[in-house]
């Protein structure tokens, strides 16, 4: 039998297991069927219910505009899968090609896609995290319980961490006219993702909208009352704040623990892959039968010196899932690389924030259009004299131009593409926090750097 025959037989009646039944897993399953895979497809997910979309959970769900239950992902085709939901995978045996579930069941596969994503980083003291009215936001249930707590009109909401999620939640609270305190360990909101210069704009945005923003402080303790309800937070400077709701928004943890004994190169930064989404083993060899996609994958990108990058971006999950699915059912010579330029968006305090490229892969930043003071601008990021990313605040229509600059390694600082050239165009140090802070609140993590 030739390898073409083998592949044809696999496409006809092979077994594919997808671990992770969220955006990346669902899109991969749809793509597998679209590519003509007619074998058995098993979807394993730790949450019950149909795959749903997460971006609305920290935005329109919290303001009460959209019910949490209305976030189910649209389906593009029938995927005819067996769904094993409500039980997480607990192990992977690559000698016999089985996924082990937490309830002891074993699920055999010929090819496997790992799309287990991330979970919210919990508050570091378990007894304090368990207090009533202390929340994280990652799942639909989380968002629904926080929405209910906000609707009850708490005297104040404390948000710990001012990354994108924390900032969006603060924005939703202000839309409900609730008093909000945001405590951020770094120099400014979003500084871990966009650097301190743009972070200052985010800080200004928060303060303009009535947020009590405190930067450079650490929350050391969440205190409850006799009924076990959160009442007060303590800061490392000795201060305290009284509040009735606490939201812990300290970034995420990649769901890779179940792979610890698998022999795959999986750890706190995710699962190392090649750009074709093949998972690497601990010796750095690509596995032909095991693929990874979405938040949990870390792939080398030629635009970023082939360093491994993990992206907690919606578009990345979709694109990577399609590449992985294609490669799972295609001959080697037809494999696609996942090379698309990262794209990210957020909306907070009425401002649309969009980025292309990897802003954390930069040493300098310059405003190329608009002005920081107006909260309407484009800033370009540069690394050693070339453009590596751009961020827009309410100015997204030019991002395609900047994407082209990034993809062609255009010199930094770039020229303004329009006549509205800002008067002050001096590049400034980007102001990214050190690696220890970077792990919190950054939605793109470049690992393996020695800078």
């Amino acid at each position: 039998m030739t390898s073409a025959d083998t592949l044809r037989a696999f496409k006809r009646d092979g077994r594919i297991v997808v671990v992770g039944a969220s955006l990346a897993g669902l899109r991969a399953a749809e793509a597998l069927r679209a590519e003509g895979f007619t074998g058995s497809l098993t979807m394993i997910g730790d949450e019950l219910g149909e795959p749903y979309d997460r971006p609305p959970l920290s935005k329109q769900v919290l303001t009460g505009w959209v019910p949490a239950g209305n976030t189910t992902l649209p389906r593009r085709r029938v995927i005819d899968a067996e769904w094993l939901l409500g039980v997480p995978a607990s192990g992977l045996d690559l000698a016999t090609n089985h996924v082990r579930l937490a309830d002891g069941r074993e699920v055999p596969f010929d090819r496997l896609l790992i799309a287990t994503g991330v979970r919210a980083r919990p508050w570091f003291v378990e007894s304090e995290a368990a207090l009533n009215r202390v929340f994280v936001v990652r799942t639909r249930e989380h968002a629904e319980s926080l929405r209910r707590a906000l609707a009850a009109g708490p005297s104040r909401v404390l948000i710990v961490g001012a990354g994108f999620t924390g900032s969006e939640i603060a924005s939703a609270c202000r839309a409900r006219e609730l008093p909000v305190t945001v405590a951020e360990l770094g120099a400014a909101p979003l500084a871990g993702a966009l650097g301190a210069v743009i972070g200052e704009v985010a800080a200004d945005l928060q303060r303009t909208h009535g947020v009590d923003l405190r930067c450079g402080v650490k929350v050391t303790r969440l205190e409850g009352d006799a009924q076990g309800r959160f009442r007060r937070a303590h800061f490392d400077d000795g201060g305290t704040i009284d509040a009735e709701v606490a939201v812990v928004a300290l970034g995420s943890i990649r769901n890779t623990e179940w792979l610890r004994e698998s022999g795959l190169a999986a750890g706190v930064w995710g699962i190392a892959c090649d750009s074709g989404c093949h998972a690497l083993d601990i010796n750095g060899r690509a596995n032909d039968d095991v693929f990874a996609a979405g938040d949990v994958a870390r792939c080398p990108h030629p635009l970023y010196e082939y360093r491994l990058i993990s992206l907690e971006h919606w578009a990345n999950a979709v694109e990577q899932a399609e590449v992985a699915a294609h490669n799972m059912v295609s001959p080697q010579a037809d494999h696609w690389p996942h090379l698309s330029t990262p794209l990210f968006w957020s909306i907070q305090f009425g401002v649309n924030i969009k980025s292309v490229g990897v802003p954390t892969f930069a040493d300098e930043v310059v405003v190329t259009q608009g002005s920081l003071d107006d909260h309407r601008f484009v800033a370009a990021y540069g690394y050693r004299g070339r453009v590596t990313a751009a961020v827009s605040f309410d100015n997204a229509k030019w991002l395609r131009h900047y994407r082209r600059l990034i993809e062609t390694a255009a010199p930094f600082p770039p020229r303004c593409p329009t006549p509205d050239q800002p008067t002050d165009v001096h590049p400034a140090p980007v102001g990214l926090p050190g690696p220890s802070l970077l792990a919190q609140g950054a939605t793109a993590v470049v690992t393996g750097r020695t800078r």
Binding site: P74, R75, W83, L85, V87, I347, N352, K354
Partner: protein, 50 residues
């Protein structure tokens, strides 16, 4: 849809709005609006939960 760039929207609008949604999807210059075409989408998935 909400705001200039419509980044925030109601993902499951009322059926009364269906024709508006289909028109918006057809008009979107970058075809970014994905409309679910499956009948009975809200029927439970073929779940086999424990």
């Amino acid at each position: 849809m909400h705001g200039e760039e419509a980044l925030m929207y109601d993902p499951n609008p009322d059926d009364a709005q269906r024709s508006l949604v289909l028109r918006a999807a057809a008009a979107c210059p970058v075809q970014a609006i994905l409309v679910d075409w499956l009948e009975g989408r809200n029927a439970p998935v073929e779940a086999s939960a424990p």
